[in-house]
């Protein structure tokens, strides 16, 4: 089964842009985590939306869920195709394609493409502000924002983050590098959670008894 969507130039351009979203420094970044593989597989079709809970294979969508995801993917694919064009257009004014620019110039281009212009981007900025204390592009605490509502750069930031930190079953977070960078002791695999073996008890307080409860019955 073909699990790519982007053509070689689009793929190289998005991979370069993702490397600016989560750069490589003394610790791994988007490039080492394989976030481009995560994204390209997501865009390839409805076959990789939900991993099976035991971590083996993916759910085959049917009915309304299939319809909804097909709709959503169409919107997101179009945003990436247009986004690559926008990056190259802005890069062209600096004398090259996006992939040919140095990292600082790539950041400038990304900020230019991200910059609010017109009502749609203003709405984007407003949505970002709604994110009270969740990720800036992902609506806040108890809710998820609809990714089809996001502009290209916020969408790219979101997908890079997902590809860096999602369970490796989705193709990114290779060898758990994303989790290692931030010190999250995630499960070895979804199966570990599914079988009820994954615990975080070692990260609780040393004294596990709440103060003030000892004398009460």
């Amino acid at each position: 089964m073909n699990d790519t969507f982007l053509d070689p130039h689009q793929r190289a351009t998005i991979a370069a842009a993702m490397a600016r979203m989560i750069p490589t420094d003394d610790t791994p970044g988007a490039a080492e985590a394989g976030t481009i593989d995560f994204l390209d597989r997501y865009l390839s079709g409805t076959g990789h939306i939900y991993a099976n809970p035991d971590g083996v294979g993916f759910e085959v969508l049917t009915g309304r869920r299939l319809w909804a995801w097909a709709q959503r993917l169409e919107v997101v694919r179009a945003r990436y195709v247009a986004g690559v064009r926008a990056l190259d257009d802005a890069a062209g004014r600096r004398g090259g394609r996006f992939v040919d620019l140095d990292p600082e110039a790539q950041d400038e281009v990304l900020r230019e493409v991200e910059r609010p212009e017109g009502r749609e981007q203003e709405a984007d900025a407003a949505r970002a502000k709604v994110a009270l204390y969740g990720a800036p592009v992902e609506a806040a605490l108890q809710q998820t924002s609809a990714e089809v509502d996001l502009g290209f750069v916020p969408l790219l930031a979101l997908h890079t983050r997902q590809g860096f930190y999602a369970d490796p079953v989705y193709g990114g977070n290779r060898d758990h590098v994303g989790w290692k960078v931030i010190g999250f002791p995630g499960p070895a695999s979804l199966a570990e959670v599914h079988q009820g073996r994954y615990t975080t008890i070692d990260y609780f307080a040393e004294d596990r008894t709440h103060p003030g409860t000892e004398g009460l019955s």
Binding site: P53, A139, G212
Partner: protein, 552 residues
């Protein structure tokens, strides 16, 4: 639409038909079936088992595996009656067997005696449609105990200095103390404020044949593959099924409640997964879809006897809706707090500012508690000032993911006549039915309370030794709690309430509402324990009424 004649399948009548199999519907089903009644339940969403859940943050939180899909089940929201409505997931709750309890982390504080006579305690507040409850804390107390002992709630009686009378302690001791709970206790103690282990719908020790919880990080907003958190799905549904009298039909979307010429309910017409229409008749109909969807279904159920929607003779169905709002002061610490451990909501709480105090300048108060920052897992964690991308974003992730936590609070938003749920006049769901439109303007009391509680929360963090603190004031109501109440308020006066004290429609005596729609005021505490306790109470009344009529 005359769906009564277009139904392809007509089922044998049943004693009770319950619409919805979430927190309230499953509680009612357990009590009714155990009393000997035959129950048919229609649930809009799927009937998932714990084998379908895992530790998948991407699917659970970002890809609508549990949340409603906004392309299929949208809602609209507007900030006032003159504003245009926009489509958004306002106050979503999972639509499946178990409802919101499938993915909650289950904070289960009780309301207090004062909550049930809130209007009398605080007096009139301009612009707010306050009302006392027609029932008292004392009436509900045995049902609180019943739910706590059915669920195996983990908590400590007496630890909350402001809790009202309880007839029995908790069945399980408190959850183990997380590092973020430890900080919260330390900060509160330094200020001389009471704090206590948050009562939780999870097992701190084996209970009723279920093992103690494994304390996975994938808990809040994830389904539970281990069966060690307590939910309607893994406690009440199996108990109802075990009676042999619970016919639970998932993937069944109700189009309308049908009524006879006198306006009494006869049953419901619903659509199955293949789009076929069915008719189910029943002696009694119980609505348990959550306050938003129950109001929507009542408004969709227009008939000659109820031309403005079922029970809507006084234009009250959908009005006085309250949603709470959850917000936080967010802090960083030098030492790690791992505020994702156990899922980020194995917490400590305070009711220090829960009760009303005239000197504060606003009415009421709210539940304060510690938690992780938002959804404190790798994909969705953030800090308020973190940029969306780049080297600085990565630095913030690396330095603070393990070193940040929140002191949070629940706003007790006041009911207002013009804050309401009605039917959108343009947007329909994937079944072609008008969606719920939320019209909501926060009351100045809501905003003042939110700012006050966030300031107190920040003081706790400061007293606990935080290195930085950011306050996120809840200056908007976003519906981020998934709590919803008030759309069919109960009361003794049919002119000012939709339901009587037994949560029976004033204008259709065989229809009951058991979800949070019955709450005259939203209170400042997480509502689901009270929703379940009240559903248990109402179900007992329904069963008692059936006994009386069958003896006649």
């Amino acid at each position: 639409m005359n769906s009564q004649t277009s139904a392809e399948t007509r089922h044998d009548p049943t004693d009770v038909l319950i619409i919805g199999a979430g927190a309230s519907g499953a509680t009612a089903a357990k009590v009714l079936t155990e009393s000997g009644l035959r129950v048919v339940a229609l649930e809009k969403g799927p009937w998932r088992t714990r084998e379908t859940f895992s530790g998948d943050e991407l699917a659970s939180i970002n890809r609508y595996d549990l949340w409603p899909d906004p392309l299929l089940n949208p809602r609209t929201h507007r900030a006032g009656v003159d504003e245009p409505a926009t489509t958004q997931l306002f106050c979503p709750v999972p639509q499946m067997v178990g409802g919101g309890t499938v993915h909650w982390q289950g904070w289960l504080p009780r309301f207090t005696e004062e909550d049930f006579r809130f209007h009398s305690v605080v007096g009139d507040v301009a612009g707010a449609s306050l009302a006392d409850w027609p029932i008292s804390y004392a009436e509900l107390e045995p049902y609180y105990t019943a739910v706590e002992w059915a669920f195996g709630v983990s908590g400590q009686a007496g630890a909350n200095r402001y809790e009202s009378f309880r007839s029995k302690g908790y069945p399980c001791p408190p959850m183990p103390m997380s590092r973020y709970a430890e900080k919260y206790h330390a900060g509160a103690a330094a200020l001389g404020w009471n704090s206590f282990p948050t009562p939780q719908a999870a097992l701190s020790q084996p209970f009723d044949g279920r093992p103690a919880t494994v304390l996975s990080a994938f808990a809040q907003q994830h389904g539970d593959p281990s069966g060690t958190r307590s939910s309607a799905l893994n406690v009440f549904v199996p108990q109802a099924v075990a009676t042999g009298r619970y016919d639970l039909r998932p993937d069944s979307v109700v189009r309308e409640i049908t009524v006879d010429a006198r306006g009494r309910a006869t049953g419901a017409v619903y659509e199955d997964a293949e789009g076929r229409l069915h008719e189910q008749r029943a002696d009694v109909v119980v609505l348990a879809c959550g306050a938003v969807e129950t109001a929507r279904l009542m408004l969709l159920s227009r008939s000659a006897a109820h031309p403005h929607g079922l029970g809507n003779e006084n234009d009250l169905v959908g009005r006085n809706v309250t949603f709470h709002e959850f917000s936080s002061a967010v802090a960083t610490f030098d030492d790690p707090v791992y505020a994702w451990a156990g899922g980020g909501y194995v917490s400590a709480s305070s009711f220090e500012f829960y009760g009303h105090d005239d000197s504060r300048g606003f009415a009421g108060g709210g539940h304060m508690a510690t938690s992780g920052v938002g959804i404190p897992l790798p994909i969705n964690w953030s800090l308020p000032d973190r940029p969306a991308w780049g080297a600085e974003a990565k630095r913030v992730d690396r330095e603070f993911f393990n070193h940040s936590m929140a002191a949070s609070m629940v706003v007790h938003d006041l009911p207002q006549h013009d804050n309401r749920v009605d039917l959108d006049d343009e947007v329909v769901d994937d079944w072609g039915m008008p969606v719920a439109r939320i019209t909501l303007t926060p009351h100045e009391n809501d905003l003042a309370m939110g700012r006050f509680l966030i300031d107190r929360s920040a003081e706790i963090l400061e007293a606990a030794g935080a290195t930085s603190i950011q306050k996120v004031y809840p200056d908007r109501v976003t519906g981020n709690c998934s709590h919803q109440h008030g759309t069919t308020r109960m009361g003794n006066d049919p002119a000012t309430s939709v339901l009587d004290r037994d949560c029976r429609l004033h204008t259709a005596d065989n229809v009951f509402v058991v979800d949070g729609g019955s709450f005259p005021t939203g209170t400042g505490a997480n509502p689901t324990l009270t929703i379940m306790a009240n559903a248990w109470r109402v179900a007992e009344r329904i069963a008692a009424g059936r006994d009386a009529s069958s003896r006649r």
